[in-house]
Symmetry: D2
Subunit: 345 residues, 4 copies
């Protein structure tokens, strides 16, 4: 961390900062420039970095040098994490397509969807039994009935189940049915929930928040991992901007960026990022082209009857077409580029 | 709600939409224009409005006419809600200043702060015992020990206590000590928590989310109110933008805007919106000038030692100066304007 | 256009709106609902749509039905525009890669870059002689000297020249050298410049603004086209958000979205959207995967010596590797999807 | 400036950076920490700071220490700039209210408005003769006819004229009529226009861009000032966010923030920031409460007939009411706070 002092800083103010740095167990290197004095702080302890340096007299601003995440960082875990869900692998070159209805509605629909997405090549089944809705007056999810339907679908297709947990009191129930736990955008920074999941034993798909940065996304993964769980999947579902054409804005550059910063798998949810059926597919395709480790998509045979988010559901035919197109796609791979482009230099 | 059909729409597609509208218990008025066909839907039932109209063939877009909040809306409750916390009133012309440390640290500090802010004119005491922090490695709050310190401070000063609840499992504990419950920006759309609080009997200060709209803020209030609780205080703490000068961006226009849409009191948290001590005061002052019903501010006698957010804490002298300045401020009042400016027309 | 009236609207207020609608030459359909009265306005004249309806008494809000662009709209020109620049085609299935230095520096560098990108498969050469820089104290471009260097490079490689115009007084000079004119993000809404270019005879690459919407981007194209020029190329270079990982945020969903709304070609500038060399390539690749009509990229053999934007310049080896990878990429095509996915239904 | 090197940095890579720093005439201080190596660069020359450090091998990131603006900075000009327009002073404690129609329409309206705002206390008259409009099909301004009307209004009221210039070729004409030149949000980074105005002799009101930061706003002022003109007025008109309640979002914290960074006057345009008549006044009032040096507001007696932006125009009665309310307002003043709050410590 680097503390930039004001032009008008006094020797006493510099000494005061240095005194505190030392009292908190770190070292301070003072660099008195012609224009500006800068104090470098050495000592990578999170608590020290978080002290309110900005409130010391004479401080102009504070510049952070290191990233605050550790267990999620590739610096501390250089090889890709590979997650294994009942034989379905994700990360480190293994890609995975998770598909299913937004909300679990009828057993008939869910079974039909599960069979269709399995036939088309999906490797896991998604479906929400608890739904975070903006309005308290809309459908809030089918609860345990929905979870039972998902279990039936798993028995018939063999597809592992991905489903959402919205609060700590749902954990016991959901963990009886789910294989992978999903955390939605509104809970990305629900730190108590993250810590609770970190003590459990099932992989977690962690979506970015509506306006979290990529590094905050990693800090939320760090919350889960700091409690012991190693299997976290980062999911990009877009963030909010002033643009209203799409439901959200998903920057595919964050796929290789997160993969460079972290060893965790990165998947793309283009159903929520676009929110509009015809645009779900090209974004899913582009996301895989950019090197994503997988997709999570909503599929429904009759979107007009879906209990939530029907506008963004792919028809089974759409999904089948997308899966066929993905077969012929050779994804971008930063490691190949580093090896091949540079070797010719 | 209005459904705009594509230029290329067929009679069958129009009929299909109309059939569904009627089957869901509403009425459809079809207006076949020269350029575009538009279907108006009459029937203000939330479930109908939320159907996936966009997934019907031939639909170009859907325009919402009504706002989705009801109990929080001034249309359904025309007079200002006045909240009474042990004799301290808020709303309907009663303003209120809530002040205290960000985190509860030592009893000595908290008592000193409580006495100082009381002397300067604060009417409630704030202090966090449970803290939502971006990093799992930083101070997470003092828990029940902190709540006990707040209680002592209340006994000595008479100031009611405002403190944060982060998850459902903290409710029992916190309600034993708190007079007003605070919901932070990361929990604004933690719908399970909102519903749980709505069943309890104490007023809730609901901050806007990091990237919620004013109307979503009201929808979150609606979640609380739909469970029975009527006493919700809307708190503006800024939202995230590309600008990095301040911690967040608080638009004072939202104060009169929320007061026009809703009967609930609106207070301003300029400690979190600016994040920088010298700017907390002018924004607090401007917020009250714009007609806010109150303030919630962080005060600490020694910000360099504060356990969190020291950069934004006012010194007791700052707070005292601000309170003196606020005495001489005559707030803007939209009702006065409507009466006086128009009467001269 | 639809005008939604307030709950409290009076018959006089409705009549006042209707009277004005008729006086301005359009028709008004009043729909008095139980909850809300809505006035539909028929008559697609831009001036009428732009009247200040919101300032009429009793009006709650105004909902637009039609898009305001016409010549840029696919509704008015259903087939893809194909632009031909000295035999290089762009749009309607023809893709194009434009590459070169950010700024024109030395003849030696520019010639080397032009030959390298030509050998790797680029079809046009880019290079800035006039540079919009945030600081007046940094390099502002090499002016006519730079344009002459570009001309030499064209003579040696045959690559048509793409270069930027920043103001009307540069038009005469630049048009003597350029084959395609580029308008940068800070001039996207410089309407006088757009109109001036619309009267000239060379194709224009129009970048989106730092915070323009996709529809505003099209409205800026409309400004050019309303003066007569038909050959406008839309270029996505990302927009500004709160995320600081990349220089800007480019949503690939806007590629098929713009192609649906408009017949104009859409190209991707991932040099400016990411601003960081290793991320330029995966985003370029993903953009082409999503169906973009082309790329515009910065290449420099010695980025450490580049006069501007060295951080984002690809090395010639990078560019060659990217071009080889693009050969094997089969782009997404919305028309194929519509034909094939639905035919199996 | 500080260059943070990657964990994996080699001695050769460090030496390469240092070699370039020295070759560009600055000094490099290398600090090899246990975790990370950091290179501090001393030498405050803009060109050096702008070199593409990020493209050197082994560089992780670059942290800027100094702000890039100089003539606009309070560090280089500690006392407030006071601008005098025919006796009307602005800045350094002198406040100013500029009012008038958005567009100049008829002489009758403009004269009526000018007299009304003069009577209510306005000190300058605004009115647009050239209008930047999103659509080429809407009213583009009345040109010289409008300027003549403004001149008549000045002759009748004595109010100096504020009007917009959109491009370099309008300068000659507009300078014959205007006393103060206004630069709108779409031209904030039209650097050629800024430089041209900097060579002229009349004060410039420079609005922030639709998505510029406060520091970029100052850099645009620096563009004007670097050509010689000292009289620049910073105008806050809000920026674009995801919130759609208001037309834009104006953070009043930027008023004292800009005043701390710069000696230039800061005024508020709440007509454009809110875009909705009832919210123009409380934001204007709050802006003055926060210490703004002035206001610029749109007033029209018949907004339903206004040629542009009628929704946001104040009625003359509104304006008169606002001016009366402003008389009783004691603005926040950071200097008073620093003197008084600290003196009691």
């Amino acid at each position: 961390m680097i503390i930039v002092m004001k032009n008008s800083v006094t020797t006493e103010q510099i000494d005061e900062v240095v005194k505190h740095v030392i009292s908190w167990g770190a070292q301070a290197h003072v660099d008195r420039g012609d224009v500006q004095t800068v104090i470098g702080i050495i000592g990578d302890k999170a608590e020290i970095l978080r002290k309110p340096w900005g409130s010391f007299a004479g401080v102009e601003k504070v510049l952070e040098v290191s990233d605050p995440f550790k267990m999620a960082s590739r610096k501390f875990h250089p090889t890709d994490t590979i997650i294994d869900v009942e034989g379905v692998k994700l990360g480190g070159g293994h890609t995975c397509v998770i598909a299913g209805p937004c909300s679990v509605d009828t057993e008939e629909y869910v079974l039909a969807i599960a069979k269709a997405v399995k036939a088309a090549g999906a490797t896991m089944l998604r479906g929400g039994a608890f739904k975070p809705r903006t309005s308290p007056y809309t459908f809030q999810g089918s609860g345990e009935d929905g979870l039972k339907i998902l279990k039936t679908a798993k028995q018939e297709t063999g597809l592992p189940i991905v489903t959402e947990v919205m609060s700590i009191d749902q954990i016991d129930l959901v963990y009886r049915y789910a294989d992978v736990i999903q955390i939605g955008a509104r809970n990305t920074q629900n730190f108590n929930l993250l810590k609770a999941l970190g003590k459990m034993g099932k992989p977690v798909i962690l979506k970015n928040g509506i306006a979290t940065t990529a590094k905050e996304h990693l800090m939320s993964a760090e919350y889960v991992m700091s409690e012991g769980l190693k299997e976290v999947i980062l999911c990009l579902r877009g963030t909010r901007t002033y643009e209203t054409a799409m439901r959200n804005c998903l920057d595919v550059a964050l796929i290789p960026y997160l993969q460079e910063l972290s060893h965790l798998p990165v998947i793309v949810d283009s159903s929520h990022s676009t929110g509009i059926r015809p645009f779900v597919m090209p974004v899913a395709y582009a996301g895989m082209a950019a090197g994503a480790d997988g997709l999570i998509l909503e599929v429904h045979p009759n979107p007009c009857e879906a209990l939530s988010d029907g506008e963004q559901a792919l028809l089974p035919n759409d999904f089948e077409y997308l899966m066929k197109r993905l077969e012929g796609l050779k994804a971008w791979n930063q490691r190949d580029w580093k090896t091949q482009a540079k070797s010719t230099k």
